[in-house]
Symmetry: C2
Subunit: 371 residues, 2 copies
């Protein structure tokens, strides 16, 4: 069946994806928060539709291109979760004027002032979250930093402070339930503290938005939080398996490739799935370019994937030296590879081939890219 | 000027590219060989047109999608330089029947037999090169391996042996003129030896095709070689600068990004150019995600680029600790980043923005992706 596909090709196991969607949504429902999935992982309307059908309220995007594509498809409430800069304001304005309820992010007084001025000049009032740094991982204002109040004060006229947002990206480097639960609590408590500081100074702060896949799946309670965001949970990947928030059997995407040759003396099986198909993302450096599986998706621990060129994957046989790898994995045979990082591997492909549930045709779901 | 572009965006310096094209073509002309550029680097018709206008004869591709796109645009002589497998033969057949002169690659008896059978069944005669392994780097048959003759013998009926091909990818790991010249000579001599073995056994072997950017720029002579292939030379990148075959001033593409925030305590300048814009390719691990430059492309050695998330680049200030990085690189200011690997960075983008030579508009050259 898979041999009729021209490889390499990105496979999607819809049943696993649906399980992942329901697992997260059920958790959010129980924790009593809204869920706003981050669609940067899939960049695919069919996937987002299923997240919304399961109960998501609005979506999160990493680019205005994503905002534009999903708005065109009917999603009307979108958070652009990267700090806005001047060269993107005209694009944001255009989307808002077309009817999108777009929320922007700032983390500096300078940008808060520019957003407010741009809004005032163009007769709109931008809805804005302030980014809070709860883990020292990347962007944002520290929760007790008095600059928070300066930013809030600058959001006047053409802008309105809607709330605070944080992303505990540091959770990707943890791998015990205890550490993850502690990070989830740190993310929650610090973001709530920032909201309290703002409210204490008289600012409205309706939204308290937190999230990353590991913390969303590890939080014990989310008191004071209004919404959670997560992206990669929809597909999962080896990084998430290493963190410990999914099993390999929950990973919903894989790259189907074909054996194109061998170097028996080196134990190499060469495939047409190189870094262009996998991405260069090495995750936690534990699985090379990904976990090699047979055509049905069962991991083959005897095959490593330590080397890749643009359209060549070089797999290393590390099993019994007596095995004839040319016979065992003949030219033309199929292998599947579980990705280190679903967002990065997905981005290398223009569509998902959805594994047919009862045989039959392969549905093809397009995904977009770029800015 | 650059501030009007919505970042991140891939910039192309056409003047530098034209210099690179002429440098390579002049060298090939002097060495007395045909030149068949590898278009996997640019995947852009405008770029390939300039390579052909400068004297290239035919092109090399890494996917049948590239073959299809360039054939549609009028290129009629294309070498698909990855070993063919059964699931791609129908696609190849379709292109040949549409009039493309497509050359295929094999490196096993099994595939030689399948190609010949497929051709016979469909009434075409595939033109085929045998891949030779001249550096132990990846694929191919060793030049003195008797299997060469078995493959040649299998190319009967629906297939015809056209010649031999090799790619000395190991040259990417060298960095002295002496080592590069030796590798170029090894690539040449071993590929020619394979051709001699085939000819000695009575097989026609018209084509002897070698190449990689480093060896093409380092070969002293190419006796016995009929054509050279190279790809990344058209743009160059930091890997090629590390190898020593270009200067930073010859690198023709860069990613324009915008400062979106800071973490002054850590010396971080955060931009909207993350790994989605740069790729995850770390090259020789010497420059992080790329070499940070000012908006005009002058390197800023005080800025490292060691960390990237999907849409965030985290630059590290490593200059004078007394500098106020918020003032020096304010939110909204532009930076450019030279890529580690032009093929990988280019693949993250849907178009090139060509730097206007005399001010004015930015020409936009589309590039395609996928399979």
């Amino acid at each position: 069946m898979q041999n009729i596909l021209e490889t390499p090709v990105l496979l999607l196991d819809e049943r696993r994806m649906q399980h992942n969607i329901e697992r997260m949504q059920n958790r959010m429902d129980k924790l009593g928060v809204s869920f706003r999935p981050h669609v940067k992982t899939s960049k695919c309307l069919e996937v987002a539709r299923r997240q919304i059908a399961a109960g998501a309220r609005g979506i999160t995007v990493s680019t205005l291109k994503e905002a534009e594509e999903f708005f065109r498809a009917g999603v009307e409430d979108i958070l652009y979760a990267v700090a806005i800069v001047p060269n993107k304001l005209d694009h944001a304005l255009k989307l808002i004027r077309a009817g999108l309820r777009l929320t922007l992010l700032v983390e500096s007084v300078a940008m808060a002032e520019q957003v407010a001025r741009h809004g005032a000049e163009h007769g709109v009032c931008y809805e804005v979250l302030i980014e809070i740094d709860t883990d020292g991982h990347r962007s944002g204002v520290k929760p007790a930093d008095p600059m928070l109040l300066d930013i809030a004060a600058a959001l006047q006229g053409g802008a309105r402070l809607k709330g605070v947002m944080t992303h505990a990206g540091a959770s990707y480097d943890l791998n015990t339930p205890e550490a993850l639960e502690a990070m989830a609590e740190q993310e929650r408590s610090r973001c709530v503290a920032a909201a309290m500081l703002l409210r204490g100074a008289g600012h409205a702060c309706d939204v308290v938005s937190v999230g990353s896949t590991p913390t969303a799946l590890s939080a014990r309670h989310l008191d004071g939080v209004t919404e959670v965001r997560a992206g990669v949970y929809v597909f999962f990947d080896m990084v998430m398996a290493d963190v410990g928030v999914c099993t390999r059997d929950e990973i919903a995407i894989s790259v189907l490739c074909t054996v194109i040759g061998h170097q028996p003396a080196q134990g190499w099986i060469i495939t047409d799935g190189g870094w262009m198909a996998m991405s260069r993302d090495l995750g936690h450096q534990a699985h090379g370019y990904g976990v090699v599986c047979d055509a049905d998706g069962q991991p083959l621990p005897d095959l490593g994937f330590g080397k890749a060129n643009q359209e060549h994957g070089v797999l290393q046989w590390r099993g019994d030296a007596g095995v004839d790898i040319v016979q065992r994995f003949p030219v033309g045979s199929s292998l599947r590879v579980l990705p280190n990082h679903a967002c990065a591997t997905g981005a290398q492909h223009g569509q998902y081939h959805v594994i047919p549930q009862n045989g039959g045709d392969w549905p093809v779901w397009p995904r977009f890219s770029g800015w």
